[in-house]
């Protein structure tokens, strides 16, 4: 029996995808390594981890768009999954310091010596292994999302109520991680990392490798999200977002579809966090602050929900603007972010990408079948 599914991307979509990955994975290193530092087009070394950071944020943004744009779940706690992934990688790098810390204790990280820990807490066991830390970086956020989502969605908590409890979750985690006796470095978090898999973190080569990994993680994350949204489950998610009771009377369990999407999303966010921490060199409880999680939603709203690439665009745009503005006039940044958010919400409800699509449509008549035809599905 012949069977088919919607293609992951259209031909034009694949072309754009390959072009973007090529630009990020080949052009940036080439402009950094091959050009003379005095050249205008040269990408200086300090920019590499900054670009890598933007890509991690972009991966975090598409993970949120997967649940918000496609299943209507506005999570204002996605920073929690990102930070947990970051902590997992941070714990590995703390262990990798070994006896090179200030106190020279080969078994305990500095902050534990300082806080009079006698031995390593059980939940730190295994983190000396890189592979274990990588698995934990997506498993722990995934498990948290599964448990939290299962309880919330099964109780039919939706809309703004879900957003509020997701804020409560991230806030509770922040308070826990701030405590010194919680075992994760308290207020200071984890920092002073030396190397990862034996490669010195401050070396340009390591930074380039982490940047490249971020490129491929984002590309892979994008394809995973595309796989989900072009699957039948993706259509069930849209159906649930549209008319949840109808989906239920059709025999679907909205809670299950949401839990799957939410868990996958949290895992992607965890991977983004694990790549972020080695590039910025620190993870502390401020990543769990509710405002950080709200900012992620702002990136997605500005870029445009429900397209995935809109989220990438929004995350990079806002963070480039943030780097620039906090450099030239730090006090104006929050006003700028607030103004941008209000402007986009009021005038461009579908975000910048949605607005661009609308503009393109003006010429060729508002055509609701476009999406279906673009997908090249049942034509």
């Amino acid at each position: 029996m012949e069977a088919s599914r919607q293609p992951l991307l259209t031909q034009a979509g694949w072309a754009r995808f390959v072009l973007a990955v090529f630009a990020a994975a080949i052009c940036v290193p080439a402009l950094n390594l091959a050009l003379d530092p005095s050249s205008n087009a040269h990408v200086p070394d300090y920019l590499i981890p900054l670009l890598g950071k933007y890509l991690c944020f972009a991966l975090l943004a598409i993970s949120l768009d997967l649940v918000w744009g496609y299943a209507g779940i506005l999570s204002l706690g996605h920073g929690a999954f990102f930070a947990l992934g970051g902590y997992a990688m941070g714990m590995h790098m703390m262990r990798a310091i070994g006896d090179r810390g200030v106190y020279g204790n080969p078994d305990l990280p500095d902050f534990m010596v300082f806080l009079n820990y006698q031995e390593l807490p059980w939940y730190w066991l295994g983190f000396d292994q890189f592979g274990f830390a990588v698995v934990m970086a997506f498993l722990v956020p995934g498990l948290l999302a599964f448990a939290f989502g299962w309880l919330a969605f099964r109780s039919r908590i939706t809309g703004v109520y879900f957003s509020i409890i997701s804020q409560a979750m991230v806030y509770a985690l922040m308070l826990a991680f701030f405590r010194n006796d919680f075992g994760f470095g308290g207020n200071n978090g984890l920092t002073d990392f030396k190397d990862i898999l034996g490669f010195e973190l401050s070396a340009p080569g390591t930074r380039m490798a982490l940047y490249m990994l971020s490129v491929f993680a984002l590309a892979g994350g994008y394809l995973v999200c595309r796989f989900i949204v072009t699957s039948k489950l993706g259509r069930v998610m849209l159906a649930v977002k549209d008319a949840e009771p109808r989906a239920r009377f059709l025999g679907y369990r909205p809670a299950n579809a949401k839990v799957v999407a939410f868990t996958a999303s949290a895992m992607l966010a965890g991977i983004a966090g694990a790549l972020y921490v080695p590039q910025v060199g620190i993870i502390n409880p401020s990543e769990f602050s509710p405002a950080v999680s709200i900012e992620i939603a702002i990136w997605v709203a500005i870029g445009g929900r429900g397209s995935l690439y809109g989220a990438i665009f929004g995350a990079i745009l806002v963070n480039v603007a943030k780097s620039y503005l906090t450099g030239v006039a730090a006090e104006t940044w929050l006003f700028f972010l607030g103004a941008l958010f209000i402007f986009v919400t009021l005038l461009l409800p579908k975000g910048l990408v949605g607005a661009a699509t609308e503009m393109r449509r003006i010429g060729d008549w508002l055509d609701p079948s476009r999406r279906a035809r673009e997908a090249g599905y049942h034509v």
Partner: protein, 248 residues
């Protein structure tokens, strides 16, 4: 009460919301393969009855059985849908951000679990069924359009199409011709007659002309219980029915 062939059996069903009895000791038997019209003034409990049968509302007391064995009060909406009970809402409810084709695809009888859906492929079998249904509901030309762009009557038809493809044994239709033109109403009556052969149908309707066109046994609900039952002529001649409903 004889319920030898009861496809759907309600006995002594009571539902109250804050002291208001939406259903009051409602008893009703729908036989296998029967077409039944249910009428009644606003607030008579028609929609609440649908909610109880489809698992949206749990009754305070009473029995609700499907196929004589299955206790519907113990099941939730997806489980009841899985038994083969399909429901069309009063206000046409389709997935507006999916295309007409995709709406029908989701309604196709298939494993509904989330992980199965993640890896599901559309079989040529289902594709053919969707094509057939598109022809039946006269929406073949609009297959790629978003359901949200359809007219009111077309949405009603799409929703009926979704019930058809779902392969439900028992169809509950809440005001299937509300907002339809006369021509559309006539087509819908035809469609229901065709469905009658291999489905049990319960049609809740306000439109008396349509109820007459269906020519089915009529149950009149009033204040949450059955006021009268019989042919359309019989109930229209009933003085109590005239008082509460038809006479106004």
């Amino acid at each position: 009460m004889s319920n030898t062939n009861a496809h759907l059996y309600l006995d002594g069903v009571t539902v109250s919301f804050d002291g208001f009895k939406a259903l009051n000791n409602l008893s009703l038997t729908i036989e296998q393969g029967e077409l039944r019209s249910i009428i009644g003034p606003n607030g008579a409990g028609k929609t609440t009855m649908m909610d109880v049968i489809t698992g949206k509302t749990k009754p305070d007391t009473g029995t609700v059985r499907f196929d004589e064995r299955i206790d519907l009060t113990k099941l939730d909406e997806p489980a009841i849908a899985g038994l083969g009970i399909g429901r069309k809402f009063q206000k046409p409810t389709v997935f507006e951000n999916l295309s007409v084709f995709e709406n029908l695809e989701l309604a196709c009888k298939a494993n509904r679990s989330a992980l199965t859906c993640l890896f599901a492929r559309l079989t040529s079998d289902h594709r053919a069924r969707i094509e057939d249904t598109l022809a039946t509901i006269s929406l073949a030309e609009r297959r790629s359009d978003l359901a949200g762009s359809l007219s009111h009557g077309q949405k009603q038809w799409l929703e009926i199409g979704m019930l058809l493809i779902q392969d439900a044994e028992l169809l509950l239709l809440d005001e299937p011709v509300a907002g339809m033109t006369d021509a559309e109403t006539e087509q819908t009556a035809d469609l229901i007659h065709r469905l009658k052969d291999d489905h049990t149908l319960v049609v809740v309707e306000h439109d008396m002309a349509f109820v007459r066109a269906l020519g089915a046994r009529v149950t009149v609900l009033h204040e949450g219980s059955v006021l009268a039952e019989g042919s359309i002529d019989h109930v229209q001649a009933d003085q109590r029915v005239v008082e509460v409903y038809l006479g106004r």
